[in-house]
Amino acid sequence: MRQSAVHLSGALMKKVQFQSRTVPFLLLLPQLAIVTIFFLWPAAEAVQSSFYLEDPFGFGATFVGMDNFTDTLTSSDYGRVARFTGVFTFFVTFLSLGIALLLAVKADKVLRGASSYKTLLMWVYAVAPPVAGLIGVLLFDQHVGPITEFFALLGWDMQIGVSFFDTSFAMTVTAVWKQVPVNFIFFLSGLQGISKSVQEAASIDCRSGFRRFWTVTFPLLAPTGFFLLIINITYAFFDTFGIIDVVLKGEPGNNPVTLVYKVYLDGFRGNDLGGSSAQSVILMLLVFILTVIQFRLIERRVHYT
C-alpha cells in the first residue's frame, strides 16, 4: 500500500497543495454548516441541560450541578438497565463474532460454491434492524411462531413481552442474526488477505488444521478481530434500537431495554430532560473512549499491511 502510514492527526499531507484562502472555506462550508447546526449545537445542548432541572410545565430550568448525574448513576433502575446492556452487548458481540468467524474460515476453504455461499451469508446486511425485529416478532410469536413451537416441544414455554428472560433471548438472537453478515464480510476479506505462501508454510509445519488455525491464522486475524470488537459493541449499544423497539412493540413495561433506549424513553416519554441528557453525556463519554481505542487500532492495522 502506498499510503501505509495514514495518521488521523492529519500529520501526513500532500506535498503539493493549492494555495488559497477562500476556495477551501467555500468547499468546507456545506459540511461545516451542517455539522454546526445538527451536531455541535445539539451536543452542546445535551451537555448543558444535563446540569439543569427542567420545570415539567416548561417554566424555565434551575441549575442543579451534578445532581442529574448522581441521581442517574445511583438509581436502581439505571443500574438494572446498565447491567442488561452489558450482558446483551457481551452475548451479541461474542456470538455474532464467533459465528461469523467460523463461517468465514469455512467459506475461505471451500472451492465449490464459494461465491454463492458468500452472497447467501452476507445479504442480510441490507435488512433494517426494525425489519429484523418484525421478523423476530413473527418467529417468536406466542401463537404462531415456529421457534416458540419448537421450544415448547422441549418444554420451554416462551412468552415474549412477558418474561424478561424470554424477551432478552429473542432480542439477542435477532440482533446476532442481523450482525453476522458484517463480521463475516470483514473476516473473509481478512482471511483472503493472508498470503498463500504463509498458509503453505503453515500447512507444512503443522498438520492439524485446528492447531494451524489457532497458531497461525487467528493471530493474523487479530487486528481485524479487535477492530470488529469495537464495531460490534457500538452496534449492540446503538444500532439495536430498532430491534428492541419493535420486539417490545413500543411497550417496555418490565421488559429489558438498553441504555440508549432508556435515553429515548426518559426524554420523549418521561419528559425528564435533565436525566435523559445526563444519560446522553454518560454515553458520549463511553463512545468517546471506544472511538479513541478504535482509531488507535485502525492506525495499527494500517501499519501492519
Partner: protein, 281 residues
C-alpha cells in the same frame, strides 16, 4: 480424508445459510397466505395463493396499518430518503475532503477536528436536543428535516480523505504544470479517478439511509412522509390489542421494506464489499 473434510465444511456453511435465509423465507411465505390461516395454523412453510392480493393491498390500498397512505407512497419516500441521503452525503463530503487534503489554509486542522468529532457521537445519544433544534427550525415533517441532520456525521468525509491521500501526488503536479486550477483538477481528474469509490460509498449510504428508523419516527408525524421502515412502527401500534393480527400484510410490508436495499447489495456485491472493508481502514 480430504473429501470428508470438505463435506464438514459444506455442512457448516449450509447450516449458516439456513440460519441467515430461513427467517426471511418464512416471512415471505407467510406473506402469501390469508390472516385467518396464519392465525389458526401458525407460520406457514409452503407458499399460499394470496400473494397478489396481499401485495396489492399493501401497495395500493390505504387504511391498513396507516390511515392515509399506501405502501407505494412509503416506497417513494424511502427512495427519496435513501437517494437524497446518499447523494447529499457524497457531494458534501467529497467537497470537504478535497479542501482538507488538497489545500493549505489557516485553521485547516481545526476544521478537520470539528468535522471528525462527529464520528464520536451517534445521533442516538443526542437525539432529544437534535429533535428540538430541528423542530425550532420548522423542519419537522419535511424531507430536508428528514435527510439533512443525518448527513452531519463525517463517515463519508473520512472515507474520501483516506482515498484522496492515496492518489499519487504526481497527478496534481502534472495538472498544475498544465495550468489546471482547483476546480478543473477536481472535475477532470479527481472525480473520474474516484468513480469506483463513489459507487461503493453510494451503495453503503443508500442502504444506511433507507434503513433509518429512529430519526424518521421522530421527524415524521405526517403520514404522507412515512417511509417503509418508519411504517414498521405503525404495524406494531395497530397490532397490539387486535383480535387477529394481519400477519400477512405486515410481512408483505416487511418484504417490501427490505427488497430494494437487498437487491442493491446483491447486484453490486463486489463494490459494496470493497466500500465496506476499505472505508473502515
Amino acid at each position: 480424508m480430504n473429501n470428508k473434510l470438505h463435506l464438514s465444511d459444506h455442512l457448516v456453511l449450509l447450516a449458516g445459510v439456513f440460519f441467515m435465509v430461513t427467517p426471511v423465507l418464512l416471512t415471505f411465505i407467510t406473506s402469501t397466505h390469508d390472516a385467518i390461516t396464519i392465525y389458526r395454523e401458525g407460520v406457514q412453510f409452503l407458499p399460499g395463493d394470496q400473494f397478489l392480493q396481499n401485495y396489492e393491498t399493501v401497495l395500493f390500498r390505504a387504511g391498513g396499518f396507516t390511515k392515509e397512505v399506501d405502501g407505494f407512497v412509503m416506497l417513494k419516500n424511502s427512495l427519496i430518503l435513501g437517494l437524497g441521503f446518499a447523494i447529499g452525503k457524497i457531494v458534501i463530503s467529497m467537497l470537504a475532503a478535497y479542501a482538507i487534503v488538497y489545500f493549505r489554509f489557516p485553521f485547516a486542522s481545526l476544521c478537520f477536528w470539528v468535522i471528525f468529532s462527529t464520528l464520536l457521537l451517534p445521533l442516538e445519544v443526542r437525539i432529544l436536543p437534535s429533535y428540538e433544534i430541528v423542530q425550532s427550525l420548522g423542519m419537522v415533517n419535511t424531507y430536508s428535516g428528514l435527510i439533512v441532520p443525518l448527513i452531519a456525521s463525517a463517515t463519508g468525509t473520512f472515507f474520501f480523505r483516506q482515498f484522496f491521500l492515496s492518489v499519487p501526488d504526481e497527478l496534481l503536479e502534472a495538472a498544475r504544470i498544465d495550468g489546471a486550477g482547483p476546480w478543473k483538477f477536481f472535475k477532470d481528474i479527481l472525480v473520474p479517478l474516484s468513480k469506483t469509490m463513489i459507487a461503493a460509498i453510494f451503495i453503503i449510504m443508500f442502504v444506511y439511509g433507507w434503513n433509518q428508523y429512529l430519526w424518521p419516527t421522530l421527524m415524521t408525524t405526517d403520514e404522507s412522509l412515512f417511509t417503509l421502515v418508519r411504517g414498521i412502527k405503525q404495524i406494531m401500534q395497530v397490532w397490539v390489542g387486535s383480535q387477529i393480527p394481519a400477519f400477512n400484510e405486515a410481512m408483505a410490508l416487511a418484504i417490501l421494506a427490505m427488497l430494494p436495499p437487498v437487491i442493491v447489495v446483491i447486484v453490486f456485491q463486489s463494490w459494496f464489499v470493497k466500500g465496506l472493508v476499505e472505508s473502515d481502514k
